[in-house]
């Protein structure tokens, strides 16, 4: 074991078993997977992306570029998980990635020896020829060799959720500055959310032996959290990453709910929060960066502060002969803590020649550099620039600190260079965001506390909260000093980006080839891409670029940081919108009734509509649909048409309003009458159609198509509020209030008479075609009756309050038995409307005009209405434009195909000869043949002409005859009967 006694914030009472590459290991509650692996002496955890170099644990947090593992098994497996961010749980299963054969002896490590050929731009240059090889041969091989982990290929068995949170102040990060901010805000009475990606709040204090006010930092954290928990106005959110800062104080947050322990919980394992914050404080701290030297990527070469955290927080002995390589004061704190813990520190190497060593009880070299390392699966020795060779099995490296400025850049803020601490600090921050602590480029705790207090005072008074007594905190921290970036390039194989295998050489090549802008460099070399987004590598890359371009680093610039800060699973973005609940569905009032009769349902928008009602013995859908059509046309059928949009239009100017929004005239519609209305867009294209009934002088009821119900309502509100604001018009959607049924067929009047209350006369004389009125049915139930017909039959639409619809269906089918009443679905509805040549969604497809639809003469020439002016444009209005007509195959046995294109006889089937298209087809049981509606040039003047209907997908050609679109009962005797 590599565990220290009596050190660390782990619970040694709670032993947790886990496995890595099949080997059974154990750790303790409080461990991360990375700390547990290190406690078991496992430094080697994977192979690198391109060269298959052995890779170890490099850091102790979310910046980890190297220790990517495959977590879990089967459908639960997740690739590319950073071992440093996983809270250890019992029975965790982890496997290393990206190797063929055992991790210790990867067959692909040959790539490492081939590395001269695998540098930047290699793929682009090498696999260009022959072109056809790319997709089938090169790409799959490269993907297999270079990919990281693997997806299960199965549906994710876990559940996810989303939510919304509101606060006065969002504090991002619960380190020293975050906790102090939270305490001040909490005591001041502000509504606070404090979020931290770690499962243990406290940030760097948990891994340091800092003293605050003569107590340990860890105790201060504990006491502060205890106090914060006692406030009702504070929400502590550990294991919550603020992954993005968006407009107007909106933040994206991912909360881990179940410790990655997916199998044992039916609750969502992650919740994606949208946080609305009036103000925010970014306390995201800093990430350490490495130094550049030959073979600086070997396992057990780790960031210095991480080594210290493993020792202090997790009680780990990271090596038996530890050396430390630093260019700043922080490296020495690691040396001190390791020594105190009893670890063997063999040497501290500091690049700075002119400092006084802060500790003396260790072998150290000042003004020296590490230039090369040795070791196969783990570092075994280092060589200094003076030739000194040091045997070591763990090298802690500190190249300074980069403030975690990411969230300040999500709204185009650009970081600024701070010469003193050799780092980029936040530039312009999103509105309402302050940055405090190490994230703002301040690295010693006393300055951090001062700065935090000052800024928080301002924020609290801005938010209107009192700031009570100053919280005085003093830490045993000394100011921080770091040496400037080297002005010369390190020699050898020097890694910058451990995750993407980007070396100094790759950057050299990119610059040589002209990719010297930072953004191009990133894409050409893949520097700073993938799961870690270059948290440890970006600034190192910039320092190299600065040398190569001979420009100061601040002039080299930085790439743009975008959300997410750390990877967010797609599942979390999907939330609960999966499978059946992908989107809400709407049910018609007769849904349950139809379900009991085995109806087949079709999705139309969010609605589920009965498509047809199969009877026992019917083998194909056509049999059912044909029967429904024949039975309706022979006697009577009922179809639920509730889904059509219904809009109540009221007001003194309602009539004028309809006259304005419809292209045809509505001014003179009498009370008690219905009229067909065609709605255009202002550019003259048909938008929607339907019928509108007038119930009184100032009350109209409009119907829209099912598909456009929402957009028509929105459009009408636009016309009302923005175009005619002085008019007295009121709109209300009543789609869901009224259940509406089409009752069609020669016996529809007889059937209706059975349910209408006595004395209601619906004879042809008193209630003719296109009449409407308020009626009552079944002893006083108020209803609306419209004599309108989409089927071409004697037909009515009856609207009754939704609450009665189920019972209505039961009763009317009982009563309707004597008329052989049939329920019909949307297919039969479609067949009958095509037989009658009525346009529907297929014809009103956003390309067609009133003139195309054969309704050009309806469009008002006199008054101003939406769309009439532009529909007079030449190209729309001419004689030779497309016209909606009917088509029938000359060979009755052939079936027409919607989407086919029309070509004149004798002409080749090519685009230049295209004359139009078939929009709707159906088999007509009345005519016993396939019929279609479609658009063809000047079609209304070509009845009787034969053309080819060409299906461009299978090259099938069917000869069709152009006919009137009114296939059935063209004079309309039936509907007026």
């Amino acid at each position: 074991m590599f565990r220290l006694e009596n050190r660390g914030l782990i619970n040694r009472e709670k032993r947790l078993n886990f496995s890595f590459n099949g080997k059974k290991l154990h750790g303790y509650e409080g461990d991360t997977l990375a700390s547990a692996l290190l406690a078991n002496g496992n430094h080697l955890v994977g192979r690198s992306f391109k060269y298959h170099r052995p890779r170890g644990i490099f850091s102790s947090g979310s910046e980890e570029p190297s220790a990517l593992i495959q977590l879990g098994l089967g459908a639960n497996t997740e690739p590319n998980i950073r071992a440093t961010t996983i809270q250890l749980f019992n029975d965790l299963v982890a496997n290393s990635q990206n190797h063929f054969g055992p991790l210790e002896w990867d067959f692909m490590r040959v790539n490492d020896f081939l590395s001269p050929f695998l540098s930047a731009g290699f793929y682009y240059k090498t696999f260009m020829w022959p072109k056809s090889f790319w997709e089938k041969i090169y790409e799959p091989i490269i993907r297999k060799a270079a990919g990281l982990g693997k997806l299960s290929g199965e549906p994710d068995p876990s559940t996810y959720d989303k939510g919304f949170l509101h606060c006065d102040l969002l504090i991002i990060g619960a380190g020293p500055s975050g906790l102090l901010s939270a305490l001040m805000a909490a005591r001041g009475g502000a509504k606070v959310i404090i979020a931290d990606e770690d499962f243990l709040l406290g940030g760097s204090l948990n891994g340091d032996h800092t003293q605050i006010n003569n107590d340990t930092g860890v105790n201060w954290v504990k006491k502060t959290i205890e106090e914060l928990i006692s406030f009702k106005n504070v929400r502590l959110m550990p294991k919550t990453t603020i992954y993005g800062a968006f407009d107007h104080g909106i933040f994206g947050a991912l909360e881990i709910k179940t410790n990655f322990d997916r199998i044992k919980s039916d609750k969502p394992r992650q919740v994606l929060w949208r946080i609305y914050a009036k103000q925010s404080v970014l306390c995201s701290g800093s990430s350490e960066r490495s130094l550049l030297f030959g073979n600086n990527d070997r396992p057990a070469i780790m960031l210095s502060r991480s080594v210290r955290q493993y020792c202090n927080r997790w009680g780990i002995i990271p090596g038996k002969k530890i050396s430390i390589y630093t260019n700043n004061d922080d490296g020495w704190i690691t040396a001190k803590d390791l020594k105190e813990a009893g670890c063997n520190v063999v040497m501290v190497i500091d690049e700075r020649p002119d400092i006084i060593a802060p500790i003396k009880n260790v072998d150290y070299r000042l003004g020296k550099k590490v230039v090369e390392t040795k070791g196969s699966l783990r570092i075994s020795s280092i060589r200094l620039d003076d030739g000194t060779k040091v045997e070591t099995d763990c090298l802690a490296v500190s190249g300074g600190f980069n403030p975690n400025v990411h969230l300040t850049c999500h709204e185009r803020g650009r970081p600024q260079w701070q010469e003193k601490n050799q780092c980029f600090i936040p530039g312009k921050t999103p509105k309402g965001m302050e940055v405090v602590g190490a994230a703002s480029g301040v690295f010693d705790l006393n300055s951090i506390f001062e700065e935090t207090t000052l800024k928080m005072k301002k924020i609290l008074s801005y938010l209107g909260y009192k700031h009570r007594k100053v919280i005085k905190l003093t830490a045993d921290h000394k100011p921080y000093n770091v040496s400037a970036f080297s002005k010369s390039l390190a020699k050898g194989k020097v890694w910058i980006d451990l995750q993407n295998d980007v070396t100094i050489k790759d950057i050299k090549i990119a610059v040589q080839e002209g990719f010297h802008s930072v953004e191009l460099l990133k894409r050409y070399t893949t520097l700073g891409m993938a799961t870690d987004q270059g948290k440890t590598s970006n600034v190192l890359g910039l320092s190299v670029l600065s040398i190569l371009k001979n420009k100061p680093i601040e002039e080299v610039g930085t790439t743009i940081y975008r959300p997410p800060f750390t990877p967010v699973p797609i599942g979390a973005f999907a939330g609960r919108s999966r499978g059946k609940h992908f989107k809400p569905f709407r049910l018609t009032p007769s849904h349950q009734w139809a379900e009991q009769r085995n109806a087949v349902f079709v999705e139309t928008g969010n609605w589920l509509r009965a498509q047809w009602f199969p009877l026992a013995g019917e083998r194909t859908w056509r049999e059912s649909v044909d029967r429904e059509v024949l039975q309706t046309r022979e006697s009577v059928g009922i179809c639920d048409v509730t889904t059509l949009g219904k809009i109540d239009i009221k007001g003194r100017d309602a009539g004028a309003f309809l006259n304005f929004v419809y292209a045809n005239n509505f001014g003179k519609l009498a009370v008690g009458k219905v009229r067909y209305g065609l709605m255009l867009r202002d550019d003259g294209i048909a938008f929607d159609d339907g019928t509108t009934a007038r119930f009184s002088e100032d009350h109209f009821v409009m119907t829209t198509t099912t598909a456009n119900a929402v957009t028509v309502f929105r459009h009408l509100e636009f016309c009302r509020q923005c175009l005619k604001p002085a008019w007295d018009v009121h709109l209300l959607s009543t789609t869901d209030h009224w259940a509406q049924f089409a009752i069609a067929g020669p016996n529809s009047r007889a059937l209706l008479s059975e349910i209408l209350d006595p004395k209601i006369d619906i004879s042809n004389e008193s209630f003719p075609f296109m009449a409407c009125g308020k009626v009552s049915i079944f002893n006083g139930i108020e209803a609306r009756l419209f004599r309108i017909s989409f089927s071409g039959e004697l037909a009515y639409e009856l609207a009754l309050p939704r609450r009665y619809a189920s019972s209505f269906m039961e009763h009317i089918f009982e009563i309707g038995k004597k008329f052989n009443l049939v329920p019909y679905g949307t297919e039969a509805l479609g067949v009958m409307r095509i037989e009658k040549g009525h346009a529907a969604g297929n014809e009103l497809n956003g390309q067609t005009t009133a003139n195309n639809l054969g309704l050009g003469k309806m469009v008002s020439k006199l008054n101003d209405c939406i769309g009439n002016t532009m529909s007079e444009r030449e190209k729309i209005d001419g004689e030779a434009v497309l016209k909606l007509v009917g088509f029938a195959p000359t060979n009755k046995m052939q079936s027409l195909v919607a989407g086919s294109h029309f070509i004149s006889k004798g002409k080749p089937a090519k685009l230049a000869n295209d004359e139009g298209w078939m929009s709707s087809v159906a088999f007509s049981p009345m005519l016993n043949k396939s019929i279609g509606l479609g658009f063809i040039k000047a079609g209304d003047q070509r009845f009787g002409e034969k053309v080819d209907s060409v299906n461009p997908l299978n090259k099938e050609v069917i000869e069709v005859e152009i006919t009137s679109p009114h296939f059935f009962d063209p004079k309309g005797d039936r509907l007026r009967g």
Binding site: H248, D682, R714, F718, Q721, C722, D864, C865, M870
Partner: protein
């Protein structure tokens, strides 16, 4: 984004539907002789400024009001929100059909 509704306070942009340039409220009226160019310009010509832009948003999941929102297209900063009807009454000289 958050749109501060004049009556309902700050509301998430997900409650709104975007239409476009607020110039659309200045629809020309058809009068004889019909001026097709004016209609053409109304339908198809837009300024598309980089900066403050008046645009139409509909509070579909709210009070169903059409709002004129002045938004900086570069920063998304919302500078002003008013009801379309209010906006129109402040622009009477531009409007022939109010």
């Amino acid at each position: 984004m958050i749109i501060p509704h004049p009556h309902l306070g700050p509301r998430d942009a997900c409650e709104f539907v975007y239409k476009g340039d607020a110039e659309l409220v200045f629809r020309p009226e058809r009068v004889a002789p019909v001026d097709y160019d004016t209609f053409h310009n109304y339908l198809y010509l837009r300024q598309n400024p980089a900066g403050a832009h008046k645009e139409l948003w509909y509070h579909e999941y709210g009070d169903r009001s059409w709002l004129v929102v002045t938004r900086n297209t570069q920063t998304h900063e919302i500078l002003k929100v008013e009801f379309a009807s209010e906006y129109l009454s402040g622009q009477k000289d531009r409007k022939s059909n109010v």
